[in-house]
């Protein structure tokens, strides 16, 4: 095994490429979010039965989707990190977790804010809500585990395994509404035979979804760049420590 050369080269290449893409990504994100907000808050008509609360959907559903997508990304990155021990994959997984947790939190809060008027309760222990809450805890568990070892590499690998195991939850979230009879809406957009939502509501929803996804990607790239820089700093400090004559191991993350 050992490290082949591309192992060393790739992070740098990523930095260069991402540096070029980032501005465009940011602009596109802002555009989508702007349009989506106007569409959702102003142009879209109130729902005939849910009234204006339907506007919560324009953040609730996209955040839900991104929360799930984020975990998928996390699992994929973790898998490649485990198999190829590629630093970029490790960094990607680390960077994705807090973002996914954030979006999931938004989904939870907006959901229960929507539930209060619609269901008459903030929270019920039904399958959909529960599985999302589990998703949230999986994110937290990933972060806790990744940070729980004083050998950072080991923490990363352990957390990666957790990410893979926890992935079973994602399909459960999606199909929970099918498998269990719950208060929660069944899938009306992502379903076979096309969406069953009125176009006037559908387009802002899709634009917002795109905006949230782009936001996730943008922040993801930024966090990956940050992590790579941190690693370089650590390496430099190690070198400095050695230059200072410390011929021994010294923790790169000293308090």
């Amino acid at each position: 095994m050992g490290f082949s050369f591309h192992y060393f080269a790739n992070p740098a290449r990523f930095m260069r490429a991402s540096g070029k893409v980032l501005p465009w990504l940011t602009a596109l994100t802002a555009l989508c979010l702007g349009v989506g907000l106007v569409g959702g808050l102003v142009l879209a008509p109130p729902d005939y039965q849910q009234g204006d609360t339907v506007r919560i959907m324009f953040i609730h559903v996209p955040s839900a989707w991104v929360g799930m997508m984020g975990y998928t990304m996390l699992a994929a990155a973790s898998a490649s990190a485990l198999i190829w021990r590629h630093p970029l994959a490790e960094v990607a997984a680390e960077a994705a977790a807090p973002l996914g947790a954030g979006f999931t939190l938004v989904c939870l809060v907006t959901g229960s804010l929507w539930g209060a008027p619609m269901w008459g309760t903030w929270w019920v222990w039904d399958a959909r809500l529960t599985s999302v809450l589990i998703l949230f805890f999986l994110y937290l568990g990933y972060m806790a585990l990744a940070g729980a070892f004083d050998d950072a590499a080991r923490g990363r690998r352990a957390a990666s395994i957790l990410a893979l195991v926890g992935f079973v939850n994602v399909p459960i979230i999606h199909y929970s509404v099918v498998w269990w009879n719950t208060l929660h809406q069944p899938a009306s957009v992502m379903r076979l035979g096309g969406p069953s939502i009125d176009p006037s509501i559908l387009w802002p929803l899709l634009v917002m979804a795109l905006g949230f996804t782009l936001l996730f990607l943008t922040l993801w790239v930024v966090r990956m760049r940050t992590a790579l820089i941190r690693r370089k700093i650590e390496a430099l400090e190690l070198a400095a420590a050695d230059a200072a004559g410390a011929g021994h191991y010294r923790p790169v993350t000293a308090p």
Binding site: G102, V106, V222, L236
Partner: protein, 57 residues
């Protein structure tokens, strides 16, 4: 103007709708701010190190 007020009222659901959007704003912008400030900080740290002429060899 009343139209604006009517819009703000969100058909009586203002509390729910606006707090939902508010929470989303807070959490997501929180993510953005932490990401960007973290990037700036590490950039600065790296520049300082390299300013001290610490390079690989």
């Amino acid at each position: 103007m009343s139209g604006f007020m009517h819009w703000l009222a969100m058909g009586g659901y203002a509390a729910y709708v606006w707090s939902a959007y508010g929470v989303a704003l807070i959490v997501l912008s929180g993510l953005a701010v932490s990401a960007i400030s973290g990037y700036r900080a590490s950039r600065r740290a790296l520049d300082e190190l390299e300013a001290q002429g610490r390079t690989r060899r």
